[in-house]
Symmetry: C2
Subunit: 168 residues, 2 copies
């Protein structure tokens, strides 16, 4: 028993040491493995957009932490803030062609704030999940391509979306 | 006590008689006085659209009764179904002009199903509420102008919106 306990202590110390000594490479792997937020269907709807450069319609949603920051007019999102952008290919309504409506489901893009873990990308993790089975997009797993565009809105903490005005 | 009870019966009968004998004019007034659904912020988000003929962005929402009918693929909405369309003037995102985003809040349009009360307009009441104080639009109070366009989708119970495809 004593031996087993000692072994456990040694193993624990080894584990702690491995964690403390995480290389930047290890941290990158952690960033890659960010999980799909499972509760996004319950998030607040924030806005919508039509992207003429992507021929897609979007609905933007936010978790409570992000939503509260937006409502307070903050330009700095706290850790734990999550924002999602649901995108569909555009199509013209069959019976009203002047209306552009959601066609095929494309993807959901998420931004998740953790100012320490994702310091290399402005404090945000960017992830894209493709198709109705929400398969992780791996092309820009580090989010550098996302960040390149989002840098245009660095002053609003890399977030493009402003909440759509609503009646009180 | 006996007299009071008799009075109550007589009054009740008078009330029933008044209800049964409602003229079409009375029914029209009832339709006009439809209330703003106060709980619309909690409704399901169904879709979004960009109207090139109105230069506006919309988010379409539905109460539980309408949402369940949509999910079941029904082309006939039950009484109590309510659908809302929130509209904003379009504007181009300052930092990403190819993105059309919600500008000034315009209105919310509601359709409320009551196949008897609103039989003259396809079983639906159409109402529009303008500006952030949601003031009742009175121009088309009978909904005939609304119905004229919605007749294009009579086969789907006068409803244009199809729910946007979402991951399960």
């Amino acid at each position: 028993m004593k031996t087993n306990l000692s072994m456990l202590v040694i193993l624990s110390m080894a584990a702690c040491s491995a964690f403390a000594g995480a290389t930047p490479e290890t941290k990158k792997i952690a960033a890659k493995e960010v999980e799909l937020p499972k509760d996004f269907r319950q998030w607040q709807r924030v806005a919508t957009s039509y992207r003429t450069d992507k021929n897609s319609l979007r609905v933007i949603i936010a978790n409570d932490i992000a939503w509260k920051a937006m409502q307070a007019g903050s330009k700095n999102f706290p850790d734990g803030a999550k924002i999602g952008k649901i995108a569909w290919k555009e199509k013209h309504h069959e019976k009203w062609p002047a209306a552009i409506v959601p066609g095929e489901f494309q993807q959901i893009d998420f931004m998740q704030k953790d100012s320490k873990q994702f310091a290399a990308t402005g404090g945000w993790n960017f992830s894209r999940w493709l198709g109705t089975d929400l398969k992780r997009e791996t092309k820009d797993i580090e989010g550098q391509e996302c960040l390149a565009c989002h840098t245009a809105v660095k002053d609003s903490d890399y977030v493009f979306t402003q909440p759509a005005m609503m009646p009180k």
